[in-house]
């Protein structure tokens, strides 16, 4: 019989993590903290999509766009001495700020890896077998593998790009140091909507073309409709149900309700989605099973090859940075002999337009399907003191509960600070709290957060306190 010790000794590492995005780097650090001999393989930039061309850089640009709005509205708050028309953004300087923050954070990731004694293996990994990776000039072996190779932009082959059109992806959109006059965004998901918001605030005339009849499909339709109206007020044009056919000579051609239409655009942002990235990984060849482009796993994040786990965007489940990290922690628990599953109905999702959106769990419709009898409560921010103070009374808190048990099935928030507030609901859902506990806890005054407590009352007790 091979003992644990001897089996171990035959590999270079106990855990090899492939890809240093938020999934990979946090998992590698945690593995090392748990005492595992760990390495991480990265071919490009530490921090992956998230730090380099995703979460962080988008929010740096949005931060400035928000500030511009705030400044333009200064006189509503009794602030004098600002000429709204004179306010503008220095895109080159903004790029510098963004690059500076990205550099600090990616540098931080490397320091964290070192500080936690994770071996850093630079290079592109390709599987040789279930325990061996080819890094080009060398091979390494590991008892367990965690694939965290992320995703890349999906360029739809069915949209023809012809003539003189400037078509970019989110990667390039983050690098712009000058702005177009008119922009078309293809895709009304989170990425498309965040960019539409950003560029419209920076003064670009933005048109969003979305195939479905709703933007932001993961959000409850009631909230996403509010968000759409809010963006429209801010100057964004939405064409829902638009099937884009081609991009030709600075025009996007699409079909809508049986008619051919077109919209002019100096710049077209392709944001129809992302696909799992397994390029050059040789994953099929060692027998890993795929689900379309994604490496297939069970809820424990294990692939069909038991010592190989796949976390983050590459498994194609929920493409969010915190999902990637959470999946990594779950994979580690399982890899260490424990048992853990990810409950995909308990993952918060945030959209950084203003007002912000934060959402967790099921939409009203899905909840009805799943639970049968539900209770729904709403609290409009127009009835919330703090929102009034902030001058941000658009939006609401919507809570969906199981009618019998008070179990929290979904919470959808649209308002100021809500991305910072959804953690409450996330913790409550993870710990299986019911509406009673949330109602019984104290939300401080004056906060937008009070609206969450009120929406829970509206749902569970049938009435809020501060709303008739």
């Amino acid at each position: 019989m091979i003992t644990e010790g001897t089996r171990m000794a035959s590999y270079d590492y106990e855990v090899a993590v492939i890809g240093a995005g938020p999934g990979g780097y946090e998992t590698a650090i945690k593995a090392a903290q748990l005492g595992k001999k760990t390495c991480i393989v990265e071919e490009k930039s530490f921090g992956g999509t998230c730090l380099n061309v995703g979460c962080i850089p988008t929010k740096v640009l949005i931060r400035t766009a928000n500030l511009v709005s705030e400044i333009r509205a200064a006189s509503e708050f009794a602030v004098d001495g600002v000429d709204p028309a004179a306010v503008s953004v220095d895109m080159k300087k903004l790029q510098q700020r963004k690059n500076g923050i990205v550099k600090t954070l990616t540098g931080g990731v490397q320091a964290l890896l070192r500080g936690n004694h994770v071996a850093v293996e630079k290079g592109r990994a390709a599987f040789v077998d279930a325990h061996t990776l080819d890094l080009g000039d060398r091979t390494i072996t590991a008892e367990n593998m965690i694939v965290a190779t992320g995703s890349k932009v999906f360029m739809p082959p069915f949209i023809a790009i012809e003539g003189e059109s400037r078509v970019i992806t989110s990667d390039e959109a983050l690098e712009l140091d000058s702005l177009p006059e008119r922009m078309a965004v293809i895709g009304g998901g989170v990425i498309g909507v965040e960019f539409a918001y950003l560029f419209s605030k920076l003064g670009v005339k933005v048109t969003v073309l979305e195939l479905m009849d709703q933007i932001l499909p993961m959000v409850d339709p009631e909230i996403s409709a509010m968000a759409r109206k809010s963006l429209e007020k801010g100057g964004v044009t939405f064409r829902l149900g638009a099937k884009v056919k081609s991009i030709r000579d600075n025009h996007v051609h699409f079909e809508l309700g049986g008619k051919e239409e077109e919209t002019a655009a100096d710049l077209v942002l392709m944001a129809v989605g992302r696909v799992p990235n397994t390029e050059g990984l040789n994953a099929e060849r060692i027998g890993l099973v795929f689900d379309r482009k994604a490496i297939q796993t069970n809820e424990r994040l294990q692939t069909n090859i038991p010592n190989i786990y796949a976390i983050g965007d590459v498994n194609g489940k929920v493409m969010l940075a915190h999902t990637a990290s959470h999946e990594g922690m779950t994979a580690l628990t399982n890899l260490c002999g424990g048992y853990a599953e990810v409950d995909y109905d308990k993952i918060p999702s945030c959209i950084y337009i203003t007002p912000e959106i934060a959402s967790i769990g099921l939409t009203e419709e899905k909840a009805k399907e799943r639970a049968g009898k539900i209770k729904v409560g709403r609290f409009p921010l127009a009835a919330n003191g703090k929102s009034m103070i902030e001058g941000s009374t658009e939006g609401m808190a919507k809570v969906i509960l199981d009618e019998t048990t008070g179990e929290i099935l979904g919470v959808h928030l649209f308002g100021s600070h809500v991305t910072e507030m959804i953690g409450e609901v996330s913790a409550a859902m993870a710990a299986e709290l019911t509406a009673e506990e949330v109602i019984g806890s104290i939300h401080p005054h004056p906060t937008v957060n009070e609206a969450v407590g009120e929406a829970f009352m509206a749902a569970w007790l049938g009435r809020a306190i501060n709303n008739v």
Binding site: T333, G337, T404, E407, L433, T434
Partner: protein, 68 residues
């Protein structure tokens, strides 16, 4: 055995698990918890309900311990 401990002590359970047990008429004290510190979770009640319906099937509950 842990089972006896569970039956003699006040059972640790999540609020959702308690509400579900009440709704389904399951005695929560007889359900083995798989959550942190042996806490009875919603899933445990759901499984207890299934076991109740199909009393023979009891698949590897004891392996479902959560590690630290």
């Amino acid at each position: 055995s842990p089972k006896e401990d569970i039956q003699t002590k006040k059972v640790l359970a999540t609020p959702v698990a308690r509400a579900m047990a009440k709704d389904l008429g399951i005695d929560i004290n007889t359900v083995e918890g798989t959550g942190p510190n042996g806490r009875v979770m919603k899933e445990d009640i759901r499984r207890a309900k299934e076991e109740h319906l199909k009393p023979k099937v009891k698949e590897g509950l004891e392996n479902r311990e959560r590690p630290k």
